[in-house]
Symmetry: D2
Subunit: 375 residues, 4 copies
Amino acid sequence: MTARKNRIRLGMVGGGQDAFIGQVHRIAARLDDRYELVAGVLSSTFERSRVSGSAIGLHEDRIYRDYAEMARIEATRPDGIEAVAIVTPNHLHFDACKTFLEQEIHVICDKPVTTTLDEAKELERLIAESGCHFLLTHNYTGYPMIREARRLVAEGALGAIRLVNVEYIQEWLAAGNEGKQAEWRLDPVRAGAGGCIGDIGTHAFHLGCYVSGLIPTGLSADLHSFGKDRILDDNAHIKLRFAGGARGMIWASQVAIGYENGVKLRIIGEKGGLEFFQEDPNKLWFNELGGVKTLLTRGGARFGGQARIPAGHPEGFLEAFATLYAEFADIIRGDDSSETALPGISDGISGLNFIHSAVRSSQDDGAWVDLVFPA
Amino acid sequence: MTARKNRIRLGMVGGGQDAFIGQVHRIAARLDDRYELVAGVLSSTFERSRVSGSAIGLHEDRIYRDYAEMARIEATRPDGIEAVAIVTPNHLHFDACKTFLEQEIHVICDKPVTTTLDEAKELERLIAESGCHFLLTHNYTGYPMIREARRLVAEGALGAIRLVNVEYIQEWLAAGNEGKQAEWRLDPVRAGAGGCIGDIGTHAFHLGCYVSGLIPTGLSADLHSFGKDRILDDNAHIKLRFAGGARGMIWASQVAIGYENGVKLRIIGEKGGLEFFQEDPNKLWFNELGGVKTLLTRGGARFGGQARIPAGHPEGFLEAFATLYAEFADIIRGDDSSETALPGISDGISGLNFIHSAVRSSQDDGAWVDLVFPA
Amino acid sequence: MTARKNRIRLGMVGGGQDAFIGQVHRIAARLDDRYELVAGVLSSTFERSRVSGSAIGLHEDRIYRDYAEMARIEATRPDGIEAVAIVTPNHLHFDACKTFLEQEIHVICDKPVTTTLDEAKELERLIAESGCHFLLTHNYTGYPMIREARRLVAEGALGAIRLVNVEYIQEWLAAGNEGKQAEWRLDPVRAGAGGCIGDIGTHAFHLGCYVSGLIPTGLSADLHSFGKDRILDDNAHIKLRFAGGARGMIWASQVAIGYENGVKLRIIGEKGGLEFFQEDPNKLWFNELGGVKTLLTRGGARFGGQARIPAGHPEGFLEAFATLYAEFADIIRGDDSSETALPGISDGISGLNFIHSAVRSSQDDGAWVDLVFPA
Amino acid sequence: MTARKNRIRLGMVGGGQDAFIGQVHRIAARLDDRYELVAGVLSSTFERSRVSGSAIGLHEDRIYRDYAEMARIEATRPDGIEAVAIVTPNHLHFDACKTFLEQEIHVICDKPVTTTLDEAKELERLIAESGCHFLLTHNYTGYPMIREARRLVAEGALGAIRLVNVEYIQEWLAAGNEGKQAEWRLDPVRAGAGGCIGDIGTHAFHLGCYVSGLIPTGLSADLHSFGKDRILDDNAHIKLRFAGGARGMIWASQVAIGYENGVKLRIIGEKGGLEFFQEDPNKLWFNELGGVKTLLTRGGARFGGQARIPAGHPEGFLEAFATLYAEFADIIRGDDSSETALPGISDGISGLNFIHSAVRSSQDDGAWVDLVFPA
């Protein structure tokens, strides 16, 4: 990990008081000491933005009225921000990303990247044009054991992959549409076409593809809303097909009482299988044909990945998030020697494709819909 | 548990040496001392049948050439069998059941009950006509914690059910079609239209219905064979719909490396959820809306069911199987005071319906197929 | 498994209605079809003995007034019992064993074998004199994974053993001295000098020695009674030393709220370690120096032991108990080819030695007391 | 969490490159943005200190030759450090702490606080004299579920405590004395009288007292070295007694193959029990008399503690460590409204007392030694 003098100057859009994910981004940025947060538009009103910004120690003159102003002014300062984190509700992602890319500022953006596939594709164009780097925070890819899983698959330890089964089940919307966190996630205008599948289904889909290395070719979806007066889905059952013949399933739910943040991944091949559970993320099961079941840990014999602290000293959600930030800092500084591609705009396009295809399939009573994976 | 003098005289068809399930039935019959095995046709040849029968202590004159002879002679003996266990490959179930029912001998039969839906319906008619009792060994319903789960749902502890998710995943056919156990299960003539979904998918389907108490109304299936030269499915991904609006999923697989006999059941309602895992069957998770997660055990405070031995002294697969046998003995003896309906012919018809509908849906690229549940 | 015609004729002393362990012995005897229970004195009064005996199907003329009568008469019958199970409270073990051995009837006896070390030694002499076989039901040794653990140690997979840590913790006496099961266990006259250490501590001690293969040489004990008006210990903390330098600990408790029958065994050597938990007995952790953690199951690749049913189909407490009965049947019939020594009188002497030494050490404020292991 | 402008200026002694714990302290200090690391003596030579300091971004003129110089100069700077973290090997703690306290700089110090009890007591005097705040990083007290456990005990949810059982078992010294981390921990000069009991046993002891709220009154210890040529203990078996009659056990080991950082805590009272396992720190079992077993999580219904991120998003070792830092910042700034006393010098004295008593008891063959808990 590198030095303070080399810290990346970071801005933030969104993430005011009460926002869960803004705080996560700030800790992630700070954890490995690679960023310094220096500017922001944290809330939708200037008044609240000033309160939030001041509370986290931003200088008054770098708390802006809106992100357009922020992008314009920061781009001209000699000590202006080099990167920005976009942590607003989904519908604002596109324009905010566009605004900063046009000022040649690197972008870190929450998923799903936009609310429409067209916007996602337009963003891809803008990124290429700007020459900037773009990080989409599919944060579960930052877990050491997810990296290990991906490596085991890539090295052929499982043989040809046959099955990809991903669950992402939560209980927090089982009771009703309560709270600020729920409000925008259930509003099609701000969240986009997908409710549960947009908010967490895209993580499940991305993780299945990321670890298996497979190209998804089609899906058949059953989206459903159990919550009263809820327009967007709060539960999704999805069958998947992949190039090469593998099959898969996704179960995403926000009404699954008993499950707090239950991301479970199972990848099974001709020679072996893997199982990972996000709520116990320092472990990975590797099961081999013939009955040998090995529990891999960050410190386990077969594992080659990095870790901040020794095995048995659990790292969690924030550390995985921070790993994406730290690796993105390497990329910005041109130091990247990582073998792991960070999630970027092509993952964003793929996610939008997934959301739209799932909605379409479900509206068509579960008919199989082709998925075109970005080249 | 009642006395030896009252033991039910039992015959067996199938279950010769090397057969896994015949041995299970014999231990189950013996465990609570309610049956005495006195006659049998254990193998397809008389020679092997005599060797197997003798090895388990049958008298020579009650080891028969075929089950037709056995039914005919036993029916006339004053000490003839009162019940028979049919543990052959699937394609022989129907005729064997018919033969004994015609002699007014009670029948215990492995699932799936027949290979076609028509046979299953014909069997239903024959059972009614005979006045005999009929037990279909959906053995997982014998677990105390499955009974407890069913009771919790019936008592409304979960509120209206929203989600039924059942997995039954195994690894034993991942390598190839090896062994006698595999051979007939993969042969459409002997196993019927379903491979994995017939052998284990029907258990998953039955368990989901048994515990939830819901009526399934439709399914959309993706059956697949990963094994080389395999005609029948070895993996199934199935979406379910139930009367009242609940949704479900079944994942049944026999190529899931790392999973020995992974039956996992999750039932989630408006107010709570349940989770059961067959490989650790003395436990049941009961999770309530609001975050309270309780681990119920056979000895737990809320549990009212019976058990042979105290909590913490694990009962397993054989004990659950034996419970079905013991309760069936009560029914035969007219002592039944159980609140729990044992699995019977209507469950068999429902299972065949499930298999055929899944095959049809899968052939029609996953189109939703209506399920008509037996009245 | 052998045939009915070859069944061993079994008698039982103790195990009337409401007795937990008598029912366990009967199921264990029946499970593998190697015994037929034909005679008994099940309760302390003839009246209750007749009710209990009749309920389990004993013929009236083989329900006896007392075990002396039973031993005398059965010894003269041509179809008299060949073996007897002694399942009374501890203080009756010695005289009952003696009585049957003098009639040359094989004995199966619950632990602890007697209430005093002198009796245990005397019993050893009587067994040798009689030429009979003697089984002490340290039933946890019947678990396949305990056998596997012992084998791994014996084969050197762990290297020289350094640490033996055994817990046997229960909660059932936390509230008070309720119930018939509790009553005699807490009475020094009927239970002997040890409460919790006699009832379950001896299991823990035996299991640690059985799996490690080590000779215990000394202990330092802290016995305590938390229950009101309780004379015997309900909690024990014991430090152990073994020949060769290994160290150990035993924690036995019957006031450990939250633990139903928590037998946990950890054996750690120079090259590896094992962990077994009785409430999930189909599994065994094998951890190797260098970080590889393998979960062994009955069906696992490295395992060579027998099992009635395939991996993933859980066997439990009754099956382990039954394995001791089946193997003892082999020994009685002279068919024994087992490599595993069944627990016998020397284990009983060792257990009494353990109890008395622990009591002595505790009375001497935890001073180390030498253990003399029977040769 | 408060603002950057209010950050506490922090110095560090120890924690150069390759040091595990220095990096942990730095992340912990940074995580909640309450500290800014501005000065340091990170290694024992100026040369290496400069390399390490520069690598983490310290200004050249605030990397010092030794801590005496650092304390002197920083105390005179208007922007001098307000607090210092002492993360050297144990034998340097005392003098370093003394030096900074004399300059009225607040101190954060690793455990064990000193190598002798006399030094610890002298330090207590110096702290009182200086008017400074002192934090001893018994970091496991920072876990939300440990706080919850302590609260449940304090509120009487368990009734009077009967049993305190703590394990802290690791495998990292099983092979040999390899690596820099091992070197000083096994050297009596630098580590003090305790090996394993000093390094991790003190954590176990502290945690048992912290959660139970009990005063330990005596111990009986068996310390042992399994490693070749090792002077200090690498395994400890300790029996404990507490005021009021509770009993306890500690098992601390660094040769326990299979266990990475296995801190397990069980507290059992008359009405309930708790179980916590450090490698899965977002969970806490609460078991009530009568059989109800509840799994509490950070988000569970009964839990009132704070958390940075929602339940199901695992926090780990670094977050718990950071919580101590954040709360200490509150204390320094005079904002403390916490109900939880942070570990301080009295815990350090208690820990030294524990180490010395354990060594003495073990040398005296396990005789009980009185523990005098600091008033």
